[in-house]
């Protein structure tokens, strides 16, 4: 292994009463890496992050953060990390600027230049009382507080929910800068375009388990090609061909994915059916995402 492990979780289990929120989750993060952490609502992303922050005690499994147990050494570890929660709730009576300074102070100091720059670029008014901020602005307060801290690890739990595309771009610039500076980022997200744009590797979880992990290029499904076709003859026989996945059709319209080495054979078969309409594109994370969650990738593919 070339680079030092920043985070290592093996077989992580968390039970709340009878409910198993995490059921043997694995997660690894190396120094200098930006890791996408994906999963639907309730899959255990936030629970995992809360264990990493020492807020929840694991029920079983192993977890180390920067080489230490995050439950036992929470305070020391937190000097080296910054966190943005998914749902930012701070003190209604304090202004945004006060919240930023307070959190920075408690973490061990803020970079003043970055603080000013972030406020400017996120166009956030720090004098407004926290309770008067919209959801997006609340998110910005937490982002400024975290990104203005000079730490090694950034744990971001759906940090851009509520941000408009312009602000999303500012956020992405900053994460790229962090990456260039050799910082490590764990980015939990719903926004696949964001993950595709920023992350070196992704870990996908579902029902508290890791179902897929690796670089975007590594993940097998991502090497397949997606097809949407309408043909004169019924495309039914394609479903049985080797290398065809996620085949669905209605009447003479079908959508499916094809492995690279079967591409020649499949396109020949498609041509023989009398094509009236065809689109193909490299697979998107959406398709992978939805495949793992047992949903039909219909809406996702129709739009593309």
């Amino acid at each position: 292994m070339s680079r030092e492990m920043v985070l290592q979780a093996r077989g992580l289990v968390k039970e709340f009463g009878g409910f198993r929120a995490l059921d043997g989750l694995d997660l690894e993060l190396r120094r200098g890496e930006v890791m996408g952490f994906l999963g639907p609502n309730g899959s255990g992303k936030s629970t995992t992050i809360r264990i990493l922050l020492g807020l929840l005690k694991k029920s079983a499994g192993d977890v180390t953060l920067l080489g230490e147990d995050p439950w036992k050494h929470a305070v020391e570890l937190h000097r080296q990390l910054a966190y943005v929660p998914g749902d930012v709730e701070l003190w209604p009576n304090l202004s945004g600027g006060e919240c930023i300074d307070l959190l920075g102070d408690l973490r061990g100091g803020l970079d003043e230049t970055r603080r000013a720059d972030l406020l400017e670029r996120f166009s956030l008014d720090p004098t407004k009382k926290f309770r008067t901020y919209s959801k997006g602005n609340r998110q910005k307060v937490a982002l400024v507080a975290a990104l203005a801290s000079d730490v090694d690890l950034y744990i971001l739990d759906e940090p851009t929910s509520g941000l408009d595309p312009l602000m999303e771009a500012v956020f992405q610039d900053y994460v790229r800068q962090l990456k260039a500076d050799g910082k490590t980022v764990l980015l939990s997200s719903h926004i696949l375009a964001e993950v595709e744009a920023l992350c070196d590797r992704v870990t996908i979880i579902r029902d508290g388990r890791t179902v897929e992990t690796g670089s975007l290029a590594d993940i097998q499904q991502l090497q397949q090609t997606h097809f949407d076709i309408t043909t004169v003859k019924s495309p039914e026989n394609l479903a049985e061909m080797p290398g065809v996945h996620n085949y669905q059709h209605s009447d003479n319209t079908a959508s499916f994915q094809v492995e690279p080495d079967q591409l020649a054979a499949v396109t020949e078969a498609v041509a023989a059916l009398g094509v009236t309409h065809i689109t193909s594109h490299p697979p998107k994370l959406e398709e992978l995402f939805l495949r793992h969650y047992d949903k039909q990738p219909e809406t996702a593919t129709r739009e593309s």
């Binding site: 005690k57 937190h78 304090l94």
Partner: protein
């Protein structure tokens, strides 16, 4: 879609959200008013005792402020004097909070937006809140009146008017909140405005009654016209157990209708989430004071400390004045003499006895300071603010103690302040050298160990069960206040009174101080708060 569409559904939602807090509040209100009635009948059991009490109350300025315009030597007069103000304040706060919680608070949380986007009319949230306030006050009136039908010592018609006057005042406060909820753009602001109105009502009425005229027999007070400017004045001017007037009841009902109508009118003049008074901007940077865990705790606890501080300071003076004004009444009353004798040695003077009795009694009410301060622990956790804090290099112990510790320090300061104002007040009004003012200072401070037990008990429950600390702390508080008020009058089994830490406080200055008891209280507080710390370090931090 009509403006009122969805009111029924929202009312159901409100009833469900308030299914614990409203019944508990109503039970506390009824228990305080109706529960004290048998005790009063027991203490003031002869015409002479009643006469003496009423004469003191009618002639004392402080008596008039806190007891209203007393109306003749009846047991009903004493009931009004003793509990009517409490009842009015509890129902007033309950009613105002019902309105703000289900209107402005929802808007602040964004829930109103979600609901408003559904099949819910513009007037529906306010309407549901108003109907809930009507229901809550209605139930309280019925429960109060029903309890008094069991007490033949009290005139039945008078009890009916007394119950209606309290419910009417509750509704008037609901009307006030229907307006303030439109004025401020945040929940606490709307509450503060409503509470400020309640304060003004109290002060105006207090002045009206102080300036009132004493009857020839010295047993009744006719309020000055100023009292008619205050809705709280109207509630008193129903004159339950005396004239039983209908007109002030109609005024209260009318005010409720008019203010609610103004609330609706304002509602239609503003956007959802906005208000007539905008929030002022804050600082762009945190000041040096807002630094670290303790700096934050101080910022969050400051207003609570100040508000209760006012209560402690006023209480100190009040006790001094009341002791002075009612000296005669207390001394002549047989039950009081027995009660006082049971609290201390026979060699203690009457004044020493009464001081030893009054301070712990007041303390059980002022213990609400600790409740208000410590339920913030659970607010911080469930809101997710604690998560944001603990994700920084903030230690759990440090955070817990920034609140528990500052509440303990705050308590010492408040009891010291009450002792100082009490000592000064006593020196100013009594002119006697029989009691050294330093005694009063110590009589107040000696309660601190019991308060520490109360605080650490609440902290322990928070460490164990998180959000359950809220119902627990308020219930324990009400229990201690109830025990403190009535334990001496009724003979209850020991274990009942010993569940209140304040019951252990030695009777000072009438009795010798047993240092071992104080030391034991402090030791219990230390152990409980240490156990709380250990448990809190081991448990999960949860959000809603």
């Amino acid at each position: 879609m009509g403006a009122f569409t969805g009111t029924g559904r929202l009312l159901k939602l409100a009833l469900r959200r308030d299914r614990i807090v409203l019944p508990v509040t109503i039970v506390i209100a009824v228990a305080l008013v109706a529960g004290s009635a048998p005790a009063l009948a027991e203490v003031y059991n002869t015409p002479a005792a009643i006469n003496s009490y009423v004469a003191s109350g009618a002639s004392s300025a402080v008596g008039r402020v806190f007891q209203g315009p007393i109306q003749g030597a009846t047991l009903g007069s004493i009931l009004i004097a003793e509990v009517f103000l409490f009842g009015a304040i509890i129902l007033g706060i309950m009613s105002a909070f019902i309105i703000t919680r289900h209107t402005r608070h929802n808007e602040e949380l964004g829930a109103a937006e979600l609901l408003g986007a559904g099949v819910v009319g513009r007037s529906a949230p306010l309407s549901a809140a108003v109907v809930l306030a009507l229901l809550a006050n209605g139930v309280t009136v019925i429960a109060l009146y029903a309890s008094f039908t069991l007490m033949p010592d009290f005139d039945q018609i008078g009890s009916l008017y007394m119950s209606l006057a309290l419910g009417g005042f509750g509704l008037a406060m609901a009307g006030v909140a229907a307006v303030t909820a439109q004025l401020s753009d945040y929940w606490r602001g709307a509450n503060l405005l409503a509470m400020a109105a309640l304060g003004v009502f109290f002060i105006v009425r207090g002045f009206g009654d102080v300036l009132g005229e004493l009857s020839a027999d010295g047993l009744s007070v006719t309020s000055h016209w100023l009292s008619w400017l205050s809705p709280m004045g109207w509630a008193y001017l129903v004159l339950p157990y005396a004239d039983n007037r209908v007109m002030p009841l109609l005024l209260l009902g009318g005010l409720f209708v008019v203010l609610t109508a103004i609330g609706y009118a304002l509602l239609y003049r503003r956007d959802v989430g906005s208000s007539l008074f905008a929030s002022r901007p804050g600082r762009a940077r945190a000041s040096a004071l807002l630094s670290g865990t303790w700096g934050l705790a101080a910022r969050l606890q400051w207003s609570n400390l100040l508000a209760w501080g006012a209560g402690f300071v006023v209480s100190g003076i009040l006790i001094a004045v009341v002791v002075n004004d009612y000296q005669q009444t207390f001394q002549e009353n047989e039950i009081f003499r027995q009660l006082l004798a049971s609290t201390g040695s026979t060699t203690a003077s009457f004044l020493e006895l009464i001081i030893a009795l009054m301070y712990p009694l007041m303390a059980t009410f002022l213990a609400g300071y600790a409740v208000a301060a410590l339920i913030k622990l659970s607010d911080e956790e469930t809101s997710g603010r604690l998560e944001a804090l603990l994700a920084t290099a903030t230690d759990r112990t440090r955070w817990l103690w920034s609140h528990v510790g500052s509440t303990m320090i705050g308590s010492v300061l408040l009891f010291a302040a009450m002792g100082v104002t009490g000592a000064l007040g006593f020196a100013a009004v009594s002119g006697t050298t029989e009691v050294d003012p330093s005694m009063i200072w110590w009589a107040s401070l000696i309660i601190v160990p019991a308060m520490l037990v109360f605080i650490s008990g609440i902290a322990l429950v928070y460490a164990l069960w998180g959000r359950w600390v809220k119902p627990f702390a308020w219930t324990w508080y009400a229990y201690c206040a109830f025990i403190g008020s009535f334990a001496g009058i009724f003979s209850w089994p020991d274990w009942v009174t010993k569940l209140s830490p304040f019951d252990y406080t030695p009777a000072y200055p009438s009795d010798t101080v047993e240092w071992s008891i104080l030391a034991a209280l402090v030791a219990v507080a230390v152990v409980m708060s240490l156990v709380a710390t250990v448990i809190f370090r081991q448990r999960d931090i949860t959000t809603e």
